[in-house]
Symmetry: D2
Subunit: 417 residues, 4 copies
Amino acid sequence: MSADIELGRQKLAWAREHMPVHAALRQRWASTWPLAGITVGVCSHIEAKTGVFVETLAAAGAEVVFTGSEPGSSQDDVVAALNEQDGIVGYARRGISDAELDELHNRALTHRPRFILDDAAELTARMVHQHPELLEGFIGMCEQTTTGIQRIQAMAREGAIRFPAYAVNNTPMKHEFDNIHGTGESSLTNLLQTTNLLLAGKRVVIAGYGDCGLGLATKARSLGARVMVTEIEPRQALRAHMAGFEVGPMAEAAAWGEIFITATGNREVIRGEHFDVMRDGALMANAGHFNVEIDAEALAGRAEEVTEARPGIAEYRTADGRRLHLVAEGRLVNLATPTAMGHPAEVMDTTFAMQAVAACHLVAHAEGLSPGVHAVPDEVDRDVAETRLTTLGIGIDELTESQRRFLESWRIEDIKG
Amino acid sequence: MSADIELGRQKLAWAREHMPVHAALRQRWASTWPLAGITVGVCSHIEAKTGVFVETLAAAGAEVVFTGSEPGSSQDDVVAALNEQDGIVGYARRGISDAELDELHNRALTHRPRFILDDAAELTARMVHQHPELLEGFIGMCEQTTTGIQRIQAMAREGAIRFPAYAVNNTPMKHEFDNIHGTGESSLTNLLQTTNLLLAGKRVVIAGYGDCGLGLATKARSLGARVMVTEIEPRQALRAHMAGFEVGPMAEAAAWGEIFITATGNREVIRGEHFDVMRDGALMANAGHFNVEIDAEALAGRAEEVTEARPGIAEYRTADGRRLHLVAEGRLVNLATPTAMGHPAEVMDTTFAMQAVAACHLVAHAEGLSPGVHAVPDEVDRDVAETRLTTLGIGIDELTESQRRFLESWRIEDIKG
Amino acid sequence: MSADIELGRQKLAWAREHMPVHAALRQRWASTWPLAGITVGVCSHIEAKTGVFVETLAAAGAEVVFTGSEPGSSQDDVVAALNEQDGIVGYARRGISDAELDELHNRALTHRPRFILDDAAELTARMVHQHPELLEGFIGMCEQTTTGIQRIQAMAREGAIRFPAYAVNNTPMKHEFDNIHGTGESSLTNLLQTTNLLLAGKRVVIAGYGDCGLGLATKARSLGARVMVTEIEPRQALRAHMAGFEVGPMAEAAAWGEIFITATGNREVIRGEHFDVMRDGALMANAGHFNVEIDAEALAGRAEEVTEARPGIAEYRTADGRRLHLVAEGRLVNLATPTAMGHPAEVMDTTFAMQAVAACHLVAHAEGLSPGVHAVPDEVDRDVAETRLTTLGIGIDELTESQRRFLESWRIEDIKG
Amino acid sequence: MSADIELGRQKLAWAREHMPVHAALRQRWASTWPLAGITVGVCSHIEAKTGVFVETLAAAGAEVVFTGSEPGSSQDDVVAALNEQDGIVGYARRGISDAELDELHNRALTHRPRFILDDAAELTARMVHQHPELLEGFIGMCEQTTTGIQRIQAMAREGAIRFPAYAVNNTPMKHEFDNIHGTGESSLTNLLQTTNLLLAGKRVVIAGYGDCGLGLATKARSLGARVMVTEIEPRQALRAHMAGFEVGPMAEAAAWGEIFITATGNREVIRGEHFDVMRDGALMANAGHFNVEIDAEALAGRAEEVTEARPGIAEYRTADGRRLHLVAEGRLVNLATPTAMGHPAEVMDTTFAMQAVAACHLVAHAEGLSPGVHAVPDEVDRDVAETRLTTLGIGIDELTESQRRFLESWRIEDIKG
């Protein structure tokens, strides 16, 4: 095990070096300790970047208890290297069953976190649903995924929550960078690495044209793929059309594509009727949070034989002799493939910084906030953006007094004079 | 003059052929006449696409009075071909002075419009400021530019307005297509046409990274330019950075660039201190609404001689022997250059459809709306998007019942079961 | 007419300012006069950039006689402004018939040029075919188009020529810049300007994937178009496929496309069988040298009515009610549309510099060259490239002595030692 | 070991499925056996795609003896799964020393190959230099890299070879696909996988703008990087400039870049003087054949400490406290990093098909070929292209008789008539 810890420490050191916003935050909070005395639960993929985030929360004074958000996405060496640090304790393991993940979540909740930094609302939903006694004294939570915000809003509609939540995913600093660039780039990298295939010249179907889908579609095309987008929302569909993508229903796309990547946040986006018309050799992967976007059960139902075509790729052979390939059991392709390492460090630097600064802000302002989902105040987003620009050494312009007045004016002589 | 009318009719016919959403709306309104009996003022660049919009409002039952929004952007032949139609009267002329434009606006207002479809709030501001008597019985207005919404909000802050306004520019269907693609593509086309220069290999500075700036920067780079973006907003600056653009203050960009395009909605974005460090041969153009983004007065103040380098390009020769070029006097480069024709037809089809459908919606719901700026209801935007998809023959997916339930659920067993 | 000359002078001044390689050559040849005493025929589109080229040949000591290469592509004001200069005489006019162009060519040949700088071998073919007496004492020629080189090679195969020719088009400095960037960018600019349509979201067919087609396809896609490429050469087809383009035969493309641009150097690339399956509203333009790529005669044969849809766009209405549009009668879209100005200045700076330097080289080495087509010596190409880099202020690396030795070695110990 | 073989078989099966051109060749040669009775040496990175190539040569009747071309790029499981097949024997192992590689090469040569399919002329150079007795009866060789062709040409200049060689790398079907798309895509994928970093927003320096460099630069930029290119050849430099890249000498680039990738085919492209001005955190990788492009010795000489920052990344800490990172010891980044798998299967399908078909052609025509490097006949290249198009299901146009005549004609009336 000590060798593991060493590798975990090495991974943390590399991540720290490439997460300068976190370094700036640790320096900022070294004396102020904004989370002092609060037990904070972190639920996420526990690998090196999450580790630096956990360390930074501890540096802000929190007692951190962490747990994994997915059975296949945490790294044991990083978990070990975190657990040896003061103020941090956690429960996560790679390659476990759903039941074992349940167990780890429950153990994390025994620490009675008063604040949660969540991924897909996993830990929060479990607390609300199965451990409502913990709601007493619970301050609030921050959520970093589209999926999680949908879930919290569903809870709020049912009156199931009595605490405020910040929709961190909805901030420009989160979804424009993490979703477009982080998911986009790392999903393709991992897909190519796992398959040893080429995007140039390939027919690729992207299901969903939210920020993740936009990133995937844009980057796949820029590497030479021909891309078809499927959507359920007419404006998103037009957005994809105007960006030059083929747009059509999945029934058409299924028969056309060679590679499929789902990023919708919904279930059964590729399902029985679609498998039936796919070409021999079609390959499917998922970039959305849950492993429900590709209907693996229906796929198995059509297969006469399921074999491992390569590590991380299952091959389903249909009765009519076609081979359909599913990557990483339909789990997140940038986290669950054999050599996956999740989002790039620079992206998580910003995403987790948004979570950390939003958490400090919510803790400081919790009393004034009604239960339910709130937008993260603009000043939090701006603060992280300015910190990031500073670490990048990028200067921008400032409004002159004359320009400020101009933006406030509307009378003809003020504008044209 | 009759020859002019013939050319105007030809231009209108070409635009009609390429504005299928307007054709669908005329058909929809042929029996319902949602604007029956209402005098509607239209202020915009009066060329062929605006003409089709005006025709469509008339087909919805309105009495339309139109006027130009800029001294250099209307086309006399189209004006003539509109004025011969029933239910339409207008006042616009190309190449007039600011004073003459004032006069035309005032004449339009003598028709006492009860609704205004405005560009940069030009006609509305004049009515509110100079003809407040017209506010009696005034129903409301729709505004299609960022600049105009800022002005209406400024009026509202001062309590100067008592009617509701729809911020049409802020809808996805407007700003994502009109600003990114319409402004982006047509500004570059007109700039290249006017200069006979090449973008490939050129150093281009884009001031502002809103939707217009994003479109300009992305398309210029895609044609082979190296692009630097200037911004005042840290998140926009980071967005440009992550998209791969050089980002820096104008003081740096001024010394670096060969071509400059402003798209900020603010004034004096390029000014004296910047002219002083520009290279010999630098060329400046504006894609923002008003001709104030480049400080032409300060430029003239530095010039020993001003000549016409080409039709539509003024050359300012500085005391130290540099030649600085200003396109179209700093007016909208896609409207005010000698051969300019404004946005492409397909873009204006959507933009003006948003204006028209939003106008009908506001007229039908005016009583329930408080004075001030309102977001256009989502159903209006969705309606236009669906109409556009239909005209394009693009099909999209629909949520299955199972998917709809999934989006509403949050409990662990509902999501993973 | 004097007003025309003034505009011609202005155009020449603007072009001179943006053709720094020509400025460097004029300086280089100011004392050496490499073309002294030689009458040089120039056949090209006579507009401002060609004018600067003509001036530069005169500055090299030549007596220049110029003529237009196309009935619709020369500009009278530039012709006038050239004809007033010493050592230059020319015959070109805009909007003439083929017969009038013949007449102008014949008048140019009365000056008995001993060297020709040609476009599509127009003047050379006429001399060889109709005025063989001029071959006596004829030194040679330089050709700048793919089409022209094919023609000269065909002449050589038939033994019809007794002089050497340099295939300037085949040099990297010519075809990579002029064809990819010059034709690509300016053809799209002129098409958009003429049609007032949008590329974003459009289905565009590019016929031919040589350098011109590659430039057109790449740039159209980068502006948001979906592009299908047609080819007759399997490797070019694969090249397009790997670059991410749809590839297929014209029979398929014809039914799919909304806009068609030909760039093949061949005739009847779009013909009767293709018109028959096109959509209503389809629009065709040509970027190849001759107006034969789109079979206009077959198109007319299918039309019940032909009208002008816009200046520069003919509308053919078929018996089954479809409207098919042909831009500029199928002539070069970047030269023959109403507001066309040909290639951008920076591109022609390099292309014409290649012609000029190659001409000087051929004149100096004509005795050692056999009749027929020759590759331009690499040193000529390199010379122009270095001059261009100097004018751009771009520095590059030089081989170290150790690197030079490495490139010469092959033994294992030399390479890995 | 048997488990290894199973994984090797799985890898070969996956590669076979994605190499349809090889399947077509095996079918074509099933009865003709064009290499019957010939011992063929294959020197390359021995992983799954090379395995399918080796199998295909055996299917053509050859006795194949293979060996690895690099100490770190072969895979033991694939080697084992090949060695169990009839007609194939080989010597390759991962992670060996240079001396051990020498030994394996020598063992391969004991089989007395009469034909070599080489990578960087490794096996050929050894034979020529150290085992000249094998030249007796040696038929010839095919070479697939730029570097190898340079070496063979150097041998030929010294009169060291008496056999013909086909420069397979120089065919369009090889270098345009393998170098641009194969090296480009897989080098970036492996770099991102190894570093867990993001390209979007990064400053990337590409040394060399041959096909490999062009692919790397284009794809890196398309993922959001800002790219500077260094070159020694003025035309390549201009090509990069016109494509929109920053171009400058390495002395400038070194101080500017965050990530450096070399692809020049030369040595010491990044060397002492460049390390001295690099930023803290700079990261270097190599995509050229030999590990000499980055001067690792000079880098070590500047380091106070060298540690492993991550698997596959060495960190050199300089005396002034900067951390410089070298990926995979400067060996091929797409082959020598911990999880590397080389070029994508579809690319190697074409590359190795060129090698195989060229080998058969050379064997059949060896007698007519002089010693030295020869271009691969165009028919070979066209054959592979047509086979590839067939497997892709892509149809292209054919010349009509009228078009064929047009391309042969040059007289005015033939062309315009």
